[in-house]
Symmetry: C3
Subunit: 261 residues, 3 copies
């Protein structure tokens, strides 16, 4: 019995999210549905990808992850199911997958489900196409039956931090529930560029540079700022038992710079 | 195994929602519970009805829908279970059902469950009475066993748009997660009155009249306003990839007028 | 099949909550997971305890309740599983249990799960330690196998209302979804001190004293203030069909005083 997860920007008030769940149960009544997040900012594929990238690996292998953010196909962006790390990801190939994956996927199938009818044209991509594909897999069907193989998915390199000999220039991509400001600078990239040199992390607010990276929030006193490779593996600016975003005035898209001596 | 859905104004923070779910599992541990919405504005039966009207039809037949908004009985408003479109609706007959149903229900039963005890008088209607009825049905019991037949439910005609030869006068009943402003003007009513004539849709903000109805949001450029019979089948004022409510200053209860030449 | 409930301050947007659910399904795929609340204010063990205290008793006996608020162990605060009222509570012994329990628990086990590995150090307490313990119990394991017995949990007497011959001095510990301001004054304590005497309930806003306790919100006219021992068994200041917190300017931590003649 496979798990089907949902990551959308639909919010929690409207009828749309439960319509999707109702459609899943209509096709596959034994489904186990798990909400990853429905509070993705509207149309924000970076955050949708970031949330699911961090969430999916805690689920059992063979779990099926539906991404319902900007789900409408264009000539360039096609509906796909991607097998990666022994999980299945179903969504619109609008760039979101270049956030989720670090390595090459096992297989990419462009969905060919023209026969799927819908009682709701607006919700059709997520509620009918993606749900049909998910329930097909959950019931034991192969992904090859859902369409034709595709060599690659759409890459979006602009989401990545930029590096030079003396510098890493990234940005804040996510403010979490505790106000931690999470950047797009992964620990591995930092280590590669740093090579043990001293460094200065600077951001929007002058005078608050940070020169140490901590292993846990409690290494500094309550209300003190710190930098840490947090639960996501990305560098974050945090305040021990406090809200870094509010207290330091940090927002998504703010530049975070690390300079090396 | 029937699905039990929940539509309430209880919010997501308090203990009350999980108390209801705990009560369901206490009576029927195999239950599949689905949240429709708990962010219904407090006491707002129009929005509760609107959300459930649009959600329920995506669920499997025989699903059971509990409505926990203004659940306290009065002499006029009685607890009922209503069979409609091969689904079951359980709630207080406070007017909410005249939003949900377009046609005559198959059957209406006024609940007679005086023997139900409760460990919480305040939550008793939803947590004990409605949950008892829902679990009874989910376990295969007939609705006739829950009370006595009733000829009709309470109608509320004031919720409907008004029409004349040259005019439809409706109002915005719902702002969705994307800021789309949804009116109480259904497509069928529009077609009946319009009979192919030209029209002008006007609303609170002068100078932003709309004279065309679109088939999809992307028919207009990003950030352009449009009118559309959206996912709900009701006329909505939207902005392609933007927030119509914020950008046009539209709120629930605002008048939307369509005049015909 | 036991139910596992979750009470956290993780919010509903981040990846962390679904990571915990994924971990539960990875260990025990038949789990029934119920969200109690994830909107507990950050680090607020009083509110976490208050919500779960009121929620748990509506669940079937043998349910397992994970509390993921301030979950990091210290020398004084240890990870425990506590059997109480034929339910299981798993969390960090940071004081939260003195809110939840009125009587002595059946058994307290300090968790000794040093062999548990984690793919995420930050989430380890809730996602790995507590989840491991919960799934162990859900699968029928004894709690004695999870660690060693402990005589007591950490008490926090400062959370309780103070009394004298002529006075009860409490505070508002929770504002619910309807704006009701709930105090830490339980009905039993009130009756013990009152012994039938007249009383005056006063709070932050002068001129709004209350001298009667109601049995239901509707005993007063709509928009009228009242005091009531509400669904939680604690005294609350409410407004019938209105928002007492907003209209009377009441906030968490405000003092509520009852003086007896």
């Amino acid at each position: 019995m496979s798990i089907i997860t949902l990551t959308t920007d639909l919010g929690l008030k409207d009828f749309t999210l439960s319509a999707i769940k109702g459609s899943i149960y209509s096709l596959y009544k034994e489904a186990t549905i798990v909400d990853v997040s429905h509070l993705v900012p509207k149309f924000n594929i970076i955050q949708a990808g970031f949330i699911l990238k961090n969430a999916y690996k805690h689920f059992p292998k063979k779990s099926i992850h539906i991404i319902g953010v900007l789900p409408y196909e264009t000539a360039q962006n096609r509906h796909v199911v991607i097998q990666y790390d022994d999980h299945y990801f179903i969504g619109n190939d609008n760039g979101v997958f270049s956030i989720i994956f670090d390595d090459k996927p096992t297989q990419i199938i462009e969905l060919d489900l023209k026969n799927i009818t819908s009682n709701n044209a607006f919700l059709k991509p997520t509620k009918d196409i993606f749900v049909h594909a998910a329930c097909h897999i959950a019931k034991g069907g192969t992904i090859e039956m859902l369409g034709r193989k595709k060599a690659d998915y759409n890459q979006r390199t602009t989401f990545k931090a930029q590096t030079s000999e003396y510098n890493i220039r990234g940005s804040i991509i996510y403010i979490d529930n505790f106000g931690n400001a999470i950047t797009n600078i992964p620990e591995l990239l930092f280590k590669e560029v740093a090579r043990g040199r001293d460094f200065t992390i600077s951001f929007r607010v002058p005078g608050y540079d940070i020169k140490t990276i901590r292993k846990s929030y409690s290494e500094v006193a309550p209300a003190e700022r710190l930098a840490i490779f947090g639960p996501t593996g990305f560098l974050e600016i945090a305040i021990n038992l406090g809200n870094a975003s509010q207290l330091l005035g940090l927002s998504e898209n703010d530049i975070v710079n690390i300079s090396f001596s």
